[in-house]
Symmetry: C2
Subunit: 558 residues, 2 copies
Amino acid sequence: MRIAIAQLNYKIGDFSGNYAKIETVVKENAKNADLIIFSELSLSGYYPKDLIESKGFIESQNQFLTKIQQLTAQFNTSLVVGFIDKNKGKGKPFHNSLCLISKGLLSYTYHKRLLPVYNIFDEARHFAPGNTPGIYEFEGVNIGFLICEDGWAGLDNYLYECDPVNDFANKNIDLIVCINGSPSNIGKQAERIEHFCAIAKKCHSPLVFTNQVGGNDDIVFDGSSFLVDQNGLLVGCAKSFEEDISIFSLENSTVISTLFPYQQMSNAELFYYQTILGLKDYIQKCGFKKVVIGVSGGIDSALTLALAVLAIGSENVVALAMPSRYSSSGSINDAKALCDNLSVKMIIVSIEEEFSLAIEQFKQSFGETPSNLTEQNIQARLRGRILMEYSNQTGALVLSTGNKSELSVGYTTLYGDMTGGFNVIGDLYKTEVYELALYFNQKHPDKSIPKAIITKAPSAELAPNQKDSDSLPEYEVLDPILKLYIEGDLLPFDELEKYQRQVLSLPADLIAQVHRLVDAAEFKRRQGAPIVRVQRRAFGHGRQLPIAAVYPKVPPLT
Amino acid sequence: MRIAIAQLNYKIGDFSGNYAKIETVVKENAKNADLIIFSELSLSGYYPKDLIESKGFIESQNQFLTKIQQLTAQFNTSLVVGFIDKNKGKGKPFHNSLCLISKGLLSYTYHKRLLPVYNIFDEARHFAPGNTPGIYEFEGVNIGFLICEDGWAGLDNYLYECDPVNDFANKNIDLIVCINGSPSNIGKQAERIEHFCAIAKKCHSPLVFTNQVGGNDDIVFDGSSFLVDQNGLLVGCAKSFEEDISIFSLENSTVISTLFPYQQMSNAELFYYQTILGLKDYIQKCGFKKVVIGVSGGIDSALTLALAVLAIGSENVVALAMPSRYSSSGSINDAKALCDNLSVKMIIVSIEEEFSLAIEQFKQSFGETPSNLTEQNIQARLRGRILMEYSNQTGALVLSTGNKSELSVGYTTLYGDMTGGFNVIGDLYKTEVYELALYFNQKHPDKSIPKAIITKAPSAELAPNQKDSDSLPEYEVLDPILKLYIEGDLLPFDELEKYQRQVLSLPADLIAQVHRLVDAAEFKRRQGAPIVRVQRRAFGHGRQLPIAAVYPKVPPLT
């Protein structure tokens, strides 16, 4: 049996667009594949959130599900499609489901049994779990079906009462088909492969893992679909961060087409592909054409600009440099050199006159001199407003440029540098921003971020000779504290140990102070733009905290 | 048996503060009550979200649980306390639990069996459901325990596989004790009473419903605890929107203390108490002392100012009037009259000079004249920045003043009038803003919102002679469309019918256009301040939607 893994980039709720992609794949591969496997919720895209419950959503989906059925009537190819089925029993009104469609008929339906409700996942909000093992004989092949989380009950995970994989034992499964909406983050690809190789080995069955690809708001799917043989050995992978159709034959579990050997990405490489795809898809799926970015001469805005150029081309990116009295001449020169290297149009809008007037107005209105903090925020907010002026005038999307270190400790101005509809690097700690910048330069020597931007000491340039290190520990010190505090419970043992070693010798009160800063900045993050998620735990839906609350004191090393 | 309902206002995670409240109640009522019933998660406050999983949280809670045990050793009073118990089995690591504490000992523990995962609720994220009916004999009284959602499986709700209330059948239950963290919204109090009276009747048992009170971020708990007799008749209610201790005796189910007859609140009355308490608690629990509000002479800012004065006193409220060339003189006079009536200090900060400079700068920088939209947003953002200047300088919390109609259709400026840490009236449709303003004036003739503010045509005053109705349907037309679209599925039949009647005669394309505006403004709301929730479905956690998505077309009447 010839099987195709269809790894596509879906838009949420865009049934006609998603159907068109599926149709194209079917038409182009019908001769080469007996079975084409699409990913979890392929018709709607993963994850539609409360759209699932909105009037007309399921009805629209079902119209296109019918169209898929009709499509298959013309071919000898069967399809596995992820869709939302109505729940006819008690519980939530829908099932996260897959169906097997052959010759115009929906011959088998399976309902996902394990519904993730943690981190960014909230499937129990919309779905009832299925309660029947997913075993179905298709053209003499006994297939065991899993949908994403269904595969994750085993090993050291005690979240679930049942393990759908165990139901495959002694059932002579010839092939395990796992369809997924599995988001990408650091370490995820290796974890998946290791985990599903173990399942294939345990079940003595080849296993095919199909994932979607593309960015949906803050979440990016890497694709990276793969095939494992019955001995639990990885046969090969589909492409990462792009659409891909991979065909293999089941008889001997050997690849006859486009699968690649697994190559582990470095973190910088992952950041690179993930942020670019996340940005590109947000822009495209929201219908924007252009972006505008405030460039300070610092590394965060430089990297954001560079990534935007790769995502949508330099002709669609505009840089605004908005110097004040505190901007060094180096900064403007560096920003200019950056824009030259990237072939980006840079517009200089001095905020000096407006800043002076704002301070004058402040004194007149409130009868006192603005504090340092007030002064600094005025500058940031003038810049935010000018970016939005450009956006309002031209329709360009403003990208905010805060990194995860800043956003963690609140070293950022609401309605100032936090201004923007989307943030590409907001899940990268500052030290990782440098990592990615260096990787970018290595990969694109013709577009390089100027060395001066990478080597200068980080500064917000909102006060005379200001350095980030005036208010914060050096980022090499800060970042491990943050990493442990924000996602320590999710780190694999070796990483956990590494960060703990780095933090071990630091004063306990410094660590506690950083924790307090993170806690106190929750109200700012609540109003921040969506951030491309790359870490195991990102700000946003994956970390839900109250504002008006007392946060527990946490031991330094956890 | 004498039983006290302890309806307290907890702060999330403030174990020492919450313990102190519990201790005071125990000491003051030990002589009058054999049993004191606190509410759901009383030690931690409801709902701590991911704090539950943060290191040190449960350990801190357990220290204070031990202190409660020690406290009871001194008295003849037993306590029912809501707390988080560790789950020793499979599944999520914790249980949402209650315990009975007597004479220094924890004699009984019950784990909540139905975990709500819809609207603002997400309990399956943190808790494993219990699987044992909550029946325990205490001093000769056979008590059936429920925790909040446990009581809601029956009637027309098919969400759950089991119904804990059914487990009380034929068990000779003498008293049903239901502890709750039940948020308030329109219609909720009546729904609760009706629902739990039916349970008491079905079980032939008196029932006591204990709720917490107070605002936690966007959610407000009204208290409104109540007692039902074994015939399913309401005996009486505790106070709404304030702490209250009510004592009754079980022998005859008659009230011997502070319970009140149920009086249904009008919507305006509910809005009044709920928004004031929500604001007051957010301010207090976040540690603010003062608020600052931009006053335009319009109804939204006027009402926000009036509510803030009631929440924290006029001496802690500052109004900034920030006129531009488009502000009518009437507007400033109205704002002044408002501030005089409310004894609020008003500072006038003209934005005219800054606005002129901004436009000049825009032309110079970008070589064109700002569009109308750009111009309007510049004004709103100048005002937002000035409010934040005042906030940065003084520590006052900025309240944003957008109503639900505006926020729904995106008739609001990000980083402009959306500026603020908290929004008191953002879940009130514009027509309800008027309702509440009229109610306020009726209740506080000495502080009244000037008639001119209530009668003038709504205007953003960002362009010459601008009226809201230039861009939007009249609010009497708009609001029913919005109400149906945003929360139609949650409305009781009579309300649904009412709004459908109002929308019935409207052109389908007008309705579709409004729906599209709502969909398109999702990115703005994502960056908005927390809003005091009063409706069945509020923006925020209760309505989770993707941004980069295609929304289904919805029939006009749904």
